[in-house]
Amino acid sequence: MTHRYTWRTGLLELGMIAAAAVFAIPFYVIINLAFQEPHSQQSAMVPTLPPNFESLGIAWGAGGLGAALLNSIVVTAVSSVIVIAEAALASYYLARATSRLSRIASVAFIGGLMLPLQLATLPLYVIVRNLGLMGTLWGLVLVYSALFLPFSIFLYTMFLRAVPIEYEESAQLDGCGPLGAFWHVVFPMLRPVTMTVLILNGIGMYNDFFTPLLYLSGSGQQTVTVAIISFVGVYVTQWPVVFAGMLLASVPVLIAFIAAQKQIISGFAGGLKG
């Protein structure tokens, strides 16, 4: 462990930058192709100069994609709020109570982290169909409100176990009921975890493909990941348009990544460290 920047560190730095450049080629290709003109046959590796915005225009105007983008954002937002409400309340109980119910529920939720969705998929498909929610965004929200619970509860309870109880006690002395104490005292303290849960769940929901493929395909409603499949089918002879569409579909998640990079990375490391 040398504390100076030696020539070996410099060599390592050069090597790492070269590795990162190779690693980032797919991103270069996505962006570079999105700015080629729609019927261009030029190599994906040659920089597109000056950038051409025609492909992005076509992709933006192509009916399905904009609506799908909106659907993805709505489903992600609504499901996130529901999951946070469910998980924060339940974790508060699970972290504080010592009853048998609390212990059984804790074990079930942690076990849920390992449970593959595939096992529940077919019966769940039938339940959603019988509820008449097939092909609707509500069906998706319903599935997410259960699917993302274990991970969120896991993060919340870990954090809550470290929070001293005195805050709530003083709230109680001030005449707060349990719900009041939760809303005015506990939930505000949970803000850092809530941010992490929100971002990690949001990325997971926005990028999810398996669930919307089963519950939405064939219907008029689509999310971005499913819409891309048909989008590629339509524009398969015009790769620049395909990549322009995929770039547009990635914009929300890239904005989130740039804005909250630190939180995402530390949430990822911290959440899994358990």
Partner: protein, 297 residues
């Protein structure tokens, strides 16, 4: 201690049980019950529509191991999971070690290597499908190097599976790296310096000092890689759709095909049960093995 027990009792009294009710009900109705029903379904024959579900015992599960396509999918899923264990942990660890030095651009490099983890696998899958298409950039580069027999990467059953493994490794190595970086922060600098002064080289410092501190990170990375690897669906669906000739079919892609294309819900449920058993057994083995390793070190 007595105080903390009393405190805990007070905590329990203050938070009412119905706080957990919404989560418990939703989770029980939409995850736990369907999972149990999924296990029951594995012993039945059902087309997904008719009111009758016929009990067939272990027939569906036997089919998974006697039918070449289903058995191939199980074997291939295991291959993918084990290959990912190697690639993600090897390269994730190397990247973390390199970025844990005085390298100046480490924050930028961390961003680059982590970025694929936040992108949709559908977008990334199509990007790789384009890169590895018969006349795509990869083959262009090979042609430029003078290779005359250009491979059809995704159309060749022998090669396609390795492209899939490459894509998933590329996509997820950043998340492994981040967890190893967090683990490396637990290694005390003084001990490393002391070892260095005592003449321990980089290898010895890594194996004798850092590695024991990295044990929790290794466990987490191993377990999560295994689970992600066994569940693999998106990348296969986009890159090959399970083809050519079912040669890249995995448990999840075959499950979807069996149920929603062929209407064999029972067979599909049997595949899901096999997948769950693999996850349960292999995770338990990993935990046991890794704990013993930690005990030794």
């Amino acid at each position: 201690m007595a105080r903390s027990a009393a405190t805990r009792r007070r905590r329990g009294q203050f938070v009412p049980w119905w706080f957990a009710l919404p989560a418990i009900v939703v989770f029980a109705v939409f995850m736990i019950w369907p999972s149990i029903d999924g296990v029951i379904l594995a012993f039945q024959e059902w087309d997904g529509v008719s009111p009758e579900r016929v009990f067939v015992g272990f027939d569906n599960l036997k089919d998974v191991f006697s039918h070449p396509v289903a058995f191939g999918a199980v074997a291939r899923t295991l291959l993918i999971a084990f290959a990912l264990l190697v690639t993600r942990n090897l390269f994730g660890m190397l990247l973390a070690l390199a970025l844990n030095t005085r390298v100046r651009s480490r924050l930028l490099l961390r961003t680059v290597f982590f970025a694929p983890a936040v992108m949709s696998s559908v977008v990334l899958g199509y990007t790789y499908k384009y890169l590895f298409s018969p006349s795509g950039p990869v083959n262009d580069a090979l042609a430029g190097l003078g290779v005359t027999e250009l491979p059809n990467w995704l159309g060749d059953p022998e090669l396609a599976i390795w492209v899939i493994i490459l894509v998933i490794s590329w996509q997820t190595v950043g998340s492994t790296m981040v967890i190893y970086l967090a683990g490396l922060q637990a290694v005390p600098q003084e001990v490393l310096e002391a070892a260095s002064i005592d003449g321990a080289g980089a290898w010895r410092r890594f194996f004798n000092v850092s590695l024991p501190f990295l044990a929790p990170a290794i466990t987490v990375n191993m377990v999560f890689t295994l689970i992600t690897g066994l569940r693999v669906f998106d990348d296969v669906y986009v890159l090959t759709g399970g083809g050519p000739a079912n040669q890249t079919q995995t448990i999840s892609t075959l499950l979807v095909q069996e149920a929603f294309e062929f209407g064999n819900y029972g067979s599909a449920a049997a595949l899901a049960v096999v997948l769950s058993l693999l996850i349960a057994v292999l995770t338990a083995v990993q935990f046991k093995f890794l704990r013993r390793q930690r005990g030794l070190s």
